[in-house]
Amino acid sequence: MTPVTLASAGLDTGDTAWLLAATALVLLMTPGLALFYGGMVRTKSVLNMLMMSFVSIALVTVVWLVAGYSLAFGDDTFAGLIGGLGHVGMVGIGPDDLTGSVPTLLFTTFQLTFAILTAALISGAIADRMKFAAWLVFVPVWTLLVYVPVAHWVWGPGGWIVDALGALDFAGGLVVEITCGASGLALALVIGPRIGFKKDAMRPHNLPMVMLGAGLLWFGWLGFNGGSALGANGLAAASVLNTLVAGCTGLLGWLFVEQRRDGHPTTFGAASGVVAGLVAITPACGTVGVLGATVVGLVAGVVCSYAVAWKFRLDYDDSLDVVGVHFVGGVVGTLLIGLFATSAMTGGAEGLLYGGGAGQLARQAVAVLAVAAYTFLVTYGIGKVIDRTMGVRASEEEELTGLDQTVHAESAYDHGGLGHAAAQAPGQSVLRLQDRSTAP
């Protein structure tokens, strides 16, 4: 993504039309993620999983418009670390203000959909066992203390990673994937493993739902990466193509590992491989050529399929593999920019394999370390504070019964009438309800 400045250049209707479409595409990714994650958990907590994504849309939108946008994309106020408060509540920005060639109100909406998705992604690490009330507190605080500063470092005007360091992150390898992955790990460590982790079978309860979610993510990801060109142009086209091919090679890479290691190419592996490839190409889609994107997706598919086993060896319960897929995939993609970046795409920076030396690779590595360390430490701190005040984990009984019933008073599926009482409205008998429905 190019650094953002409030420019006085004229509005371009083509660019604006594309970014409007891309914004809608990216927004769809969060409900898609809800299905992707929802299918992976057990029946008793699928609604809670869906809710954590949906409520993130509401929470982050409010936080973003109140202060998030201003602090991330407002004028730099301190050494490239944070933006200003000049646009709190979107004050001072009207329909005629432009960012590049598109309305600033559209640019901030596009960016908002990224912040929403990133927060929702973290929920995969703490599936089945986080207090819903604690999640409602965590998301806004995390957005302000982690997402917003990192977005400013990488994409904001004067951000230190883009300006002083010169690392590249076209669509969110650092800002989205590494932040959600490192945060997922931190929160998983604070909250502890699910009851029965490594002992009980915790199979995904609905793999068609996982596949549908992965499909929606892939669809939306074209807007995520293609829209990050902030214009209807060749760079957007290249990003869309790179995104498509990396998803494909990610899928193939993951299936290759499964066939060799487990003897079965699984649907879950296919869905996971697509996401791994898409994660890795996110930072790189606007800086590498098609061949580079092909390799980035393939490497991510292979590496991430091995990485998801870490949680069993290292004993942390990142339930839905936010670390193994998003953190590892994000690191793979961000580092491979240092090998595959081509000046034909970047207009300047070149990676090691294109004659640019090791400098870009080193810059990418520094950015990865800085973002990962900051994100992990701050998220761990937020988690600990919430834990010591309101408690971060659901009770043992709630976890064993399932959060759908205990938190939301609902169940996802009707498995037949056995054990279910008749419907009854508050204060009314079933008979009265029937009487009313048949009254003349």
Partner: protein
């Protein structure tokens, strides 16, 4: 009277049902069941993690027949349910003291 209970693979239900109808069996009760025999289920793989699934889906078919019909019914069920692969199931017969048709109050063979 005998109660014949057959636990069979779900995809053999139609064949079993047809075989019993061909023998003139008037009614049956079918329930979904899970269980395992010698094969002890199967293994599934999710993101590289293997899960042993012991209890596999089965169908339980129950029919009440007169004593003389028990052997032909057992044979028919075995023929219809057999695939030759492991996990084909079991069929057994137990004596029944009496049966009552709820609608009419008829007892014994009259109730079948």
């Amino acid at each position: 009277m005998k109660l014949i209970t057959a636990v069979v693979k779900p995809h053999r239900l139609d064949e079993v049902k047809t075989a019993l109808q061909d023998l003139g069996v008037n009614g049956m009760t079918v329930t979904e069941a899970s269980g395992y025999g010698r094969q002890h289920g199967h293994t599934e793989v999710y993101r590289g993690a293997e899960y042993r699934v012991d209890l596999v889906p089965k169908i339980r078919v129950e029919v009440l027949v007169e004593d003389a019909d028990a052997e032909p019914v057992l044979d028919a069920v075995v023929r219809a349910a057999r695939t030759g692969k492991i996990g084909d199931g079991k069929v057994w017969a137990v004596p029944v003291e009496t049966a009552v048709r709820v609608r009419t109050g008829e007892r014994g063979p009259e109730a079948l």
